[in-house]
Amino acid sequence: MLNNNPYSQNTIPPTPPLPKQMVSTLYPPLRSSVLVKSMPEYEILYRWHNTNCSHDTRITLDLLSQTLGTYEVPAQRTLESINLNVIKQHMDDMITYLVLYQRFLALWNQLDAKLEYTNEAFVLDGHKFATLDEVERVIANRALL
């Protein structure tokens, strides 16, 4: 069984040179993180949409795609050439943002597109809210009336 695996006997597989396409995108100018876990929800959405995060995310995804897609098993040199921690942080940010944005969109649809966010709060009919939970409570109260 071991004889068929890429790490058996001669152990480390030879690392082919990186494709030109990959070399040109190594070490992209990725921010380590623009999102902070303690950041208010509206600020996460505001920052993401105003700091070119989607562009950085596409670069991150391209890089991951190239890392995974070039060889059956990512070559050692490829792995050494990318900053996994930075990419992982960016992917964590991306998921944090997507979960929040998905929830915001559901409420936005429910409120006939009247819900907005700024860098200071969520805004609904001129009233400001700190969290989407508060917005949901307003919707629940309206339903009771």
């Binding site: 790490y7 152990t11 480390i12 989607s54 795609s65 059956e72 098993v73 944005y101 998905q102 969109l105």
Partner: protein, 115 residues
């Protein structure tokens, strides 16, 4: 409840199912589609994806890449002492001994002054 997959099982899983064939490539494609628009993500795509599933897949991917990086690094260092590190589907193999984790491999290698 299924026990969590071990590091060596994870390495073997990705080796058996090559990354190109694995649905990880598809996962990344889905994310690329979500961010294919301008500044904001594409909400039409966003509606269609299950974020908890996606999140779990991404976490596993990074665990795999980190484990593979660590394995490469240990194997390379051991190789300078002419010791071979490899793995089967359940164990890491260092010379004539088998280990369940890279921590154990590293500890034994350190004890033998191989690292």
């Amino acid at each position: 409840m299924k026990p969590p997959i071990t590091d060596v099982e994870l390495l073997d899983k990705y080796r058996q199912h090559t990354l190109k064939a694995d649905d990880m490539a598809q996962t990344i494609q889905i994310l690329s589609d979500v961010f294919s628009g301008g500044g904001n993500c594409n909400s039409a795509y966003l509606d269609a994806i299950k974020l908890p599933v996606l999140k779990a897949k991404i976490e596993e991917l990074f665990r795999y890449l980190e484990t593979l990086t660590r394995f490469h690094s240990l194997a390379e260092r051991l190789n300078t002492k002419e010791v071979t590190l490899e793995f089967s589907n359940t164990q890491f193999i260092l010379g004539d001994r088998q280990f369940a984790t890279l921590d154990e491999v590293e500890r034994v290698a350190n004890n033998r002054a191989l690292l």
